[in-house]
Amino acid sequence: MNNNLILEMKQITKDYPGVRALDQVDIKVKEGEIHALCGENGAGKSTLMKVLSGVIPYGDYDGDIFYEGKRCEFKNVKQSELMGIGIIHQELALIQDLSIAENIFLANEISKRGVIDWDEANRQTIALLKKVGLDEAPEELIKDLSVGKQQLVEIAKALSKDIKLLILDEPTSSLNEEDSQNLLKMIKELKSQGVTSIIISHKLSELEQIGDSLTVLRDGKTVDYLDFKKDEVNEDRIIKAMVGREITNLYPEKSNKIGDILLEVKNWSVDHPLYDRRMADNVSFYVKKGEVVGFAGLMGAGRSELFRSIFGKSFGRNIKGETYINGQRVHLNNVSQAIKHGMAYATEDRKTYGLILIDSIKNNVTLAGLNKVIKRGVIDDNLEVRDSEKQVKALKLKYSDINQDTLNLSGGNQQKVVLSKWMYTAPDILILDEPTRGIDVGAKYEIYQIINQLAEMGKAVIVISSEMPEVIGVSDRVYVMDNAVIKGELTKDNVSQEAIMRTILKKKEEVKVNGETKTTTA
């Protein structure tokens, strides 16, 4: 064996009922490098890393793991941790009701004679948080942090252990541009300290930016290995290996015709349900028939909160403002009224708000549009199976059985189930909150195509996204939101990453001076 390999996994095979998640996968990682792992949704990336870290114990898979030259048989996570392997899972695994420090030192408490030394723990927590660019207090509760910040806490938690190999499963999928860059810098920093990393991501540009080598999985098999120093690496090549065909254009061509105003919201304000904080402050905007409108901004700008409060008052307190659909004033007091008025809102956080994980794909898909499979008060099972299969197949969902629990789907495929649910209600106004989070390039393209199709059918589509290229790529018009207000509006002709950033950086006063409606252009 090559002695500068820190890790070699050979012929790893893992079966789940109905699917072979890994099929004789080989992967090699050199000591001190950043190794990228990519592949389509459900290719087996997370599963492979679960095997490596002992989440899937020895004996539940076939094949061999050689780590630092030794053959390893991890029976649980603790054992791999002792060897210096740390993993940050795709789905956050923090305890919401505990503080940052409590989470970081969970099962790893610093104690003196059996008593936890919180002063020391807090001191170390502050240092760790600083490393990941957070300036939160150690006592702050996890549930009060945004998803982006929670992710950073996860990383701080991994750093608190003495690790040599850090596995990051889609660490940036819920981070904004700036935080992502910070994180990548940090991984490089760790590299200079001798820590090896394996990073999984669907953001290929990031992998190109920091990777030293790369393994591509497809359908549970290793299909490509690239060394960034020796091979010529570019996105097209990676994509081709991932999906097995070429994708030339990341954003499909559009041919939608824009009509009259379909949804208009005037002077909308909403407060945080618990704290004295404005989440949206006197916001006004409109969307026309056949139009795709983007909502750009940084994580935490208040976009999700704004739309959840519009969508049947499902968020916040002291909601003020007016909603018009087709020029008619509507009062959407609960979600089912919003759905009846043709609205759909696909949430960003699939685990907490999007899916019933312990329920089947079928039941999740039909939940919001159950009336369509009810005949004379009775659910028609067969119709339900047929409809839900049709719906998920349109999004190329990878699954083995329509009755399987959504819990066992890969992250990206779970996201597709959330989208299927809302597509099934056949909405006129579709609000998509971070619709491509954790979704592979091929599937992204399909989702953009669906957005375009809906627009061509004369529907209004709102896309909330923190990925600027995406907002720019799919939208006809873009609102820039920051700190609970709309800071500006950009059209297809003048939108660019710089323009969005410039708009965000505008001072609040400046916006106020510019006009009452706050929908001034940049």
Partner: protein, 407 residues
């Protein structure tokens, strides 16, 4: 051991079935319902066990009849509790509500001379109100169910003591008593109770008819269907089961009145849980309240209904129990809630909500009932019965966890 068993089941048999084109559907059906089938098998095994140790007394017509009569009030409760637990909650007050309903009916009949059927309807009304009371605090004021129903347990027990003045009221009217002690009369007369046998035939015909209809529908939709021999086998076993039961009962006095109540309750609630919007919504609320809410489910209304319904079924339970004793006593209904909750969990429901079936809850109640009955036949007292029931509950849930393939 359990893990080994699970592996065998999971990996060899089911995988083979799922790999085999013809049996794939059966394999996935088994996999999805392994818990329910497992508990059903356990019930059969327990019955066979008692058959041998009691020298066949346990399956004599009289005893089968007794098992139904002795457990009807728990089965009814378990069905209601299933829905409450599926929404991710609990109801500790059902025993007290049952007692209170029984007490009020006794007072209506004995002290106020109200006709038994009107008194019974009023009793059901009281149960519904009690359920609404719990539901109001839980669904609308958002007080944890454990607290609200613990309070309800005390409140309704206290009210029972109050209205009865600590005394037992009985006997009650003959009409009321017949709810639990009466039998459907046989127009044919003779040794065997022919009407019961005919009921068995009608049920059989219905099973055959609906199996064929379902199969046709699946074919219409171009879905996979079970191989014909599997369908025939399963249907035949079901028919044998139904007719064996009715034949046994026909040798005694036929169908007891409560069996009709049970049959109707089980059929209606199975239907509600599987085939209606409100049923689906209960599972959704228990599975993920946030996601359900954002998908347009009115979570408050759903919870409120689950408790209102529970109140009604608690009233049924109280009525069945009081009618069997032919008296209302201050101690009626004690520990009913635990038997009902135990049945639901033995039947495969999940503590955290979203998972469970009506059939499972009924089987759970029967498992407990058959064990109780068998042990009494052997002369073992309530002491041993409690120990064994506790162990059964633990084992059942252990089996549950062991068969769930994690991650």
């Amino acid at each position: 051991m359990a893990k080994l068993k699970q592996r065998l089941l999971e990996n060899k048999l089911i995988k083979w079935m799922r790999g085999n084109e013809k049996l794939a559907l059966l394999g996935s059906l088994l996999k999805d319902n392994i818990r329910q089938y497992g508990m059903f098998m356990a019930l059969i095994i327990i019955m066979i066990f008692f058959y041998f140790v009691t020298n066949g007394i346990s399956v004599r017509p009289l005893n089968i009849n007794n098992i139904i009569l002795q457990n009807a009030h728990i089965i009814v409760l378990a069905v209601g509790m299933l829905f409450v637990i599926v929404t991710g909650n609990i109801d500790l007050s059902v025993g007290s509500v049952a007692a209170f309903v029984g007490a009020m009916i006794a007072i209506f009949m004995r002290r106020m001379d109200i006709a038994w059927y009107i008194a019974t309807l009023m009793g059901i009304g009281i149960g519904i109100l009690a359920g609404m009371w719990n539901g109001f605090w839980i669904a609308f004021i958002k007080i944890p169910a454990f607290i609200v129903t613990l309070g309800g347990m005390l409140i309704f027990r206290g009210l029972t003591l109050l209205v009865l003045g600590g005394q037992t009221i009985g006997p009650l009217s003959g009409g009321f008593n017949r709810i639990s002690s009466g039998f459907i009369s046989d127009p044919f007369g003779g040794e065997l109770h022919w009407l019961t046998l005919i009921a068995g035939f009608i049920a059989s015909a219905f099973v055959i008819f609906s199996t064929i209809k379902k199969r046709r529908r699946r074919i219409d939709f171009n879905f996979e269907v079970l191989p014909i021999w599997v369908s025939v086998l399963v249907t035949s076993l079901t028919l044998i089961g139904i007719n064996l039961l009715t034949y046994t009962l026909a040798q005694h006095r036929g169908l007891p009145n409560v069996s009709i109540i049970l049959f109707v309750v089980i059929v209606i609630y199975t239907f509600i849980s599987k085939k209606t919007k409100i049923g689906r919504h209960m599972y959704a609320v228990g599975g993920n309240k946030n996601a359900a809410e954002l998908s347009g489910v009115n979570t408050r209304k759903t919870l409120f209904l689950a408790y209102t319904n529970m109140g009604m079924l608690a009233a049924f339970s109280g009525i069945i129990y009081a009618a069997r004793l032919n008296a209302a006593t201050p101690k009626a209904g004690e520990l009913f809630e635990l038997d009902a909750i135990g049945s639901v969990f033995i039947g495969g429901a999940s503590m955290s909500g979203g998972i469970g079936t009506v059939g499972g809850a009924v089987i759970g109640a029967l498992v407990m009932g058959v064990i109780n009955n068998g042990m009494s036949l052997l002369g073992l007292g309530i002491d041993w019965q409690q120990v064994v029931k506790g162990l059964v509950l633990l084992m059942a849930v252990w089996f549950d966890i062991a068969t769930k393939n994690k991650r």
